[in-house]
Subunit: 359 residues, 2 copies
């Protein structure tokens, strides 16, 4: 395995549309959402470790999830866990982690990947990332992995690539924010648009240079810390300085501002598992067309439901279609799949009425 290959696993988010399973205390990536026996972060770590030495996979997360990371990824050492002391979107933590990795290995090429997505086909994922790594090793490229759109989804950003290129790896023309439905339809009709899945690849050298050129203030802030990184002085430096960083996404900070951006179209099936409905889509259905995790069900005239409980709980449901039925120790949710985008508001109401501990 190539010792220059690195990964940053983004594991600081909450995934509140998966409430009540995903909570601030115990977010989605640390749950076995698919009922396979592995949590999403375990699956993602395993997938990356097909290509990248395990000791080169860094976990970017929040201080409160430190214990969960070590519990679920026992092969990971303290060195590999990078804690954000404050919520500052993706740019600051990616720059910080890149500088740490560069200090350790100036020849590193790396992938930044969310820890909570669904990608079943590990071999093709590995192939596509390796193609990108080769390209990034030889070129000053900021790369992203684009997903072939299957319908005019208005929930994702889009990547417009150069239609003239006949290469596998294509120059990116521009990033487009989440479109409305009409625009999304046009994107798909045009044929040179991919979904932005938040998976990036580059050499540490190139990404740090991009920060230096496009986010000078942010670069200067974290550049001061280089002598401290990977030493006993790092924690102090980060505690004092991280909070000063601008709250900005990596897309906005460097990708949209650079002209050396390239995309490779994923050849594997992908799902961001953003909502209960998308999880329903990915799961096998039982005889009655319900997706069931952990529960044992007696379903009468009921279909299209996403049912999740603790292990082996019996669920009897009659005359209910297209519902999210999620049972936890302290919370039971019975909610139409069609309103899944409103679960965030429901969660807010529950917190207001019954206490923040339920979110």
């Amino acid at each position: 395995m190539n010792k220059n290959y690195y990964a940053i696993l983004m594991a600081g988010g909450v995934g509140s549309r998966f409430w009540p399973v995903s909570t601030e205390e115990f977010p989605k990536q640390f749950h076995d959402m698919l009922g396979t026996g592995d949590t999403l972060i375990q699956k993602t770590f395993h997938r990356l470790s097909q290509l990248i030495p395990k000791e080169n996979i860094f976990i970017l997360t929040n201080e409160r999830y430190n214990d969960l990371v070590f519990e679920q990824l026992p092969e990971v050492t303290k060195r590999q866990v990078v804690l954000e002391p404050a919520m500052r979107n993706t740019a600051p933590c990616i720059l910080y982690a890149s500088l740490k990795i560069q200090k350790e290995n100036p020849d590193a090429v790396m992938v930044v990947a969310p820890s909570d997505h669904w990608i079943e086909d590990e071999a093709t994922f590995t192939k596509n990332v390796e193609q990108a790594f080769h390209f990034c090793s030889k070129n000053k490229a900021l790369m992203t992995l684009g997903i072939q759109p299957t319908f005019p989804n208005t929930g994702y950003g889009y990547i417009e690539f150069d239609n003239d290129s006949s290469e596998t790896i294509k120059p990116v023309h521009q990033f487009r924010e989440k479109p409305n439905y009409e625009t999304a339809k046009e994107f798909i009709a045009q044929g040179n648009f991919l979904w932005n899945a938040g998976i990036f690849m580059w050499s540490v050298k190139t990404v740090i240079e991009a920060f230096k050129n496009n986010q000078r203030e942010l670069y200067d802030l974290f550049e001061t810390g280089i002598p401290a990184y990977n030493t006993e002085f790092e924690d102090d430096f980060i505690r004092d300085n991280y909070k000063k960083a601008e709250n900005i996404s990596v897309d906005y900070a460097i990708m949209e501002k650079s002209d050396n951006v390239y995309v490779i179209a994923a050849e594997f099936d992908w799902n961001d598992l953003g909502t209960w409905g998308s999880l329903y889509d990915k799961l096998d259905k039982d005889d009655t067309g319900n997706a069931v995790v952990n529960a044992r069900t007696l379903s009468i005239e009921s279909q299209g439901n996403m049912i999740r409980t603790k292990s082996d709980k019996i669920v009897v449901v009659d005359g209910l279609n297209d519902y999210i039925i999620v049972d936890k120790e302290e919370v039971l949710l019975i909610y139409p799949k069609s309103k899944e985008q409103d679960i965030k508001q429901v969660l807010q109401k529950v917190k207001d009425e019954f206490g923040v501990q339920y979110g």
Copy 2:
């Protein structure tokens, strides 16, 4: 308090239409179905103890519920708990208990009452039972408490009383089995029909005589045991003989065959709490028209639901009307109120599929 007043509390049933709360291991009468802090048997015991000395209230139940009885009614002694070693309907256990009481107090008058009904107005209940007790003390009467019908219910038996009588206590013309809807409507139009609530009153002398006259075999069986009752030999006698008793209800065994049967119309509000729907009817509703026991609910466009969980569990429900939502540790039921009569079949399916321990 009159030392001749006795009660037999019937507490051997299962109430399977209240599954999954009511189970064979832990039936309805031992649950706090109304969310008031008292179980149904505790409420019934308390109601009877307004008129009847506590030490004269006997509990007729199944051996497996022995511990539950002592746990929930700590004032009750072993003497007061009469265990049926085999399921034999109501006649054998009532005869057996009556003989025990007669041996202890030949002047006893008693009420037989289910332990799982809803009667809120204790004062009027006490008044009506006391009226019946007076009558039974002075007359060779088998009495029943009839409930004024409020609609043509096809789930109850009816009592047809003598229309000519202007007394509070009226001679019964005949008992009528559960009618079809048309017949039930006629009963109500006629005006001299009451619901049979399974509440009986008589002197021990009169009821034992009725058994002797109408069920000679049964009478002879239990008469042999008189020397043993209330002694150390009782358990042995019952273990050897109870199983020989005919499986027959007290209505069929003596009430329908006797001509000294009288009824008093209850002046209190009554509900047999036979189903989740009848419980819903009796409970206060929240702002959104749901009846909620123990749960804390966030209800969106949902009404007419009967919701029960463990204490303080949060239930979020959206777009669901007239459902029974019952959550237990191992079972979650989401079932239309309109199909509540089918819960027995659902329970059977659950037992067949997942094991008898869930019933």
